[in-house]
Amino acid sequence: MPKISSILIANRGEIALRVIRACKELGIRSISVYSDDDSRSIHVKRADETYRLGPPQASESYLRIDKIIEIAKSSGADAIHPGYGFLSENEGFSDECKKNGIIFIGPTARTMELAGDKMKCKEIMKKADVPIAPGSDGVVDDIELAAEIAKEAGYPVMLKSAFGGGGRGIRLVNNEKELRQEFELASNESQAAFGKSALFIEKYLTNIRHIEFQLIRDSSGNGRHLFERECSIQRRHQKLIEMSPSPVVNKERREKVGEIAVRASTALDYLNAGTAEFLADAEGNFYFIEINARLQVEHPITEIVTGKDLVKLQIHVAQGEELPFKQQDLELKGSAIECRINSEDPFYDFAPSVGYVPNCNLPYGPGVRVDTYLYPGCNVSGYYDSLIAKLITYGGDFNEARIRMKNALSEFTIEGINTTIPIHKTIIEESNFINGNISTDYIDKFNIIEKMKHKRDQEYKDKAHAAISGILLQSEFVKKSYLAHRINKNQESMDGGFF
């Protein structure tokens, strides 16, 4: 296969910037695409070249396979990196790239189809001796059938989109009334986000951990796992905090489950980077849930503990190279944590928060990495995902990484919008989190929202005198401005110099 010399990035936000950086490291021309709401976004600014896609709606821009292929061809792109979300797990897109002689940096359409259809995938895994999670047996199109299955399994149940992923399209439903209400919403949502709607039902299990294994497999069939990520801290079934290693995975289990994960990738004839997701129960049993056939949001923590650059590896594998390391060459060193900073108001049921960001300060220093599209004066669009930054810290052990996260969170200031930073600040100092006593229902189980509100009240108290001083200063300022104005009517010279 020829060496890739230019890559079109069919995505936006922090992941587009991440791929642009990998391109720059490899001397590859980076080509970005943008919607009208993104013309000043960072992926426009940092790419070597940039092309307009269309109106803000994803369906008119980042989901337009035809336009993206057209731009790839006219700009002479050798390859396309899909990032995550959008078209990253769309087999039609992978196929279309192939037809047009463009390398798709990810799995083949066939693998993606199998991985994307959660039901088919489970069948294959059963055959490959990969332990799978208990749940319903197929896609449910009809609301009446859904109600019947849910009744049989017993509430609560999970309503999941067969084409979802990353927590999207998953709803917890407690009774039939809710099921009927949510079935339609979930169906529409999945339609809007993935262009398809097919739901299935799974029994909701408690005291469960979400642990996943990073995979990469080359075109010669060499498959490796890059150890686990513990992603149990979730809200609304979406990951909030991830870490590697997991506090409950020791060396033996890591090797054992890692091997199962590699077997799963072999069963799908997987190509490039992917992730095998498992549920782990309190007894330490691992159940396969699905393969995410793309680069994962939380890939940086794996990069840090393994020292491997996953995006560069993706590109190497995509141009036909063999993986440059064997399984036994890999070593998990130190500890890394990622907090997902979303533009949502955690005090208000995580309602989306969008708009202009007049200023922001990204944390830096020892053990800190930030992947973000924020910059002072940027805009957070309501048309796309709420992930605005990933804050990653690392240290020799979990506690060093954790304390660095605490400090980095307090250095991270974002004006103009609400973010999930307050809930991260709360969790990072919460005793169950510190002791590794976590599960997917952690947020509810330990009243994290209440604890966050309590923490805010404490912060309010601590900052009250300083804040009031600011008000007093402004009132002095206004008084003097007014006096000065009366004297010389020259408002221009009022700023500063009064005290």
Binding site: S386, A467, S469, I471, L472
Partner: protein, 170 residues
């Protein structure tokens, strides 16, 4: 001046005792005296050392009864407590409660993807009124009480901002 921090019942007294000039001021806040050294100021931004600790304060657009303040990376809200603002506050509050009771407001910004009811429809508490889409999520705005739809204020495809009224019920 008197202030009250959100989520706390205590009122706080604060005043400027004197201005020594060249950025040195003396404040009294809740019977504590503070030396304040002003480092930089514009009309709404202040950098200063209070006692021995640095602070950055930006006064955000505030309401008549509340200050919204960005301080050292967090946003805090402080109620004004002068006699006049107290009266204004009460008036606004009583009016607000009376009229708000029949309003169904959007508590998030978003695009209306579906209007689930029509004018004159009878509805029950918890019934979805409209469905919004924001950041790839679809969220239903539900009624907070039983009643009849007097008027729907939004259309499918239109966008609403936070706290905008989407419907009024009787």
């Amino acid at each position: 001046m008197k202030f009250q921090i959100e989520g706390n019942n205590n009122k706080i007294d604060a005043e400027l005792i004197y201005n020594r000039g060249s950025g040195d001021l003396l404040f009294a806040i809740d019977d504590q005296k503070y030396n304040l050294k002003l480092l930089k100021s514009t009309s709404n931004e202040f950098e200063f050392i209070l006692g021995n600790t640095y602070h950055y304060v930006k006064i955000l657009p505030s309401t008549e009864t509340k200050y919204k303040i960005f301080i050292d990376g967090i946003v805090i809200e402080i109620k004004k407590h002068s006699k006049i603002t107290e009266i204004i506050e009460k008036t606004l509050k009583s009016k607000g409660i009376a009229s708000q009771a029949n309003n169904i407001t959007s508590q998030i910004p978003g695009r209306v993807v579906k209007v689930s009811v029509s004018n004159g429809d009878k509805i029950k508490e918890g019934d979805p009124i409209v469905v919004l889409e924001s950041m790839k999520m679809q969220i239903a705005i539900k009624s907070h009480k039983d009643g009849t739809i007097r008027i729907i204020k939004v259309k499918e495809g239109s966008t609403v901002s936070r706290n905008e009224i989407v419907a009024i019920i009787d």
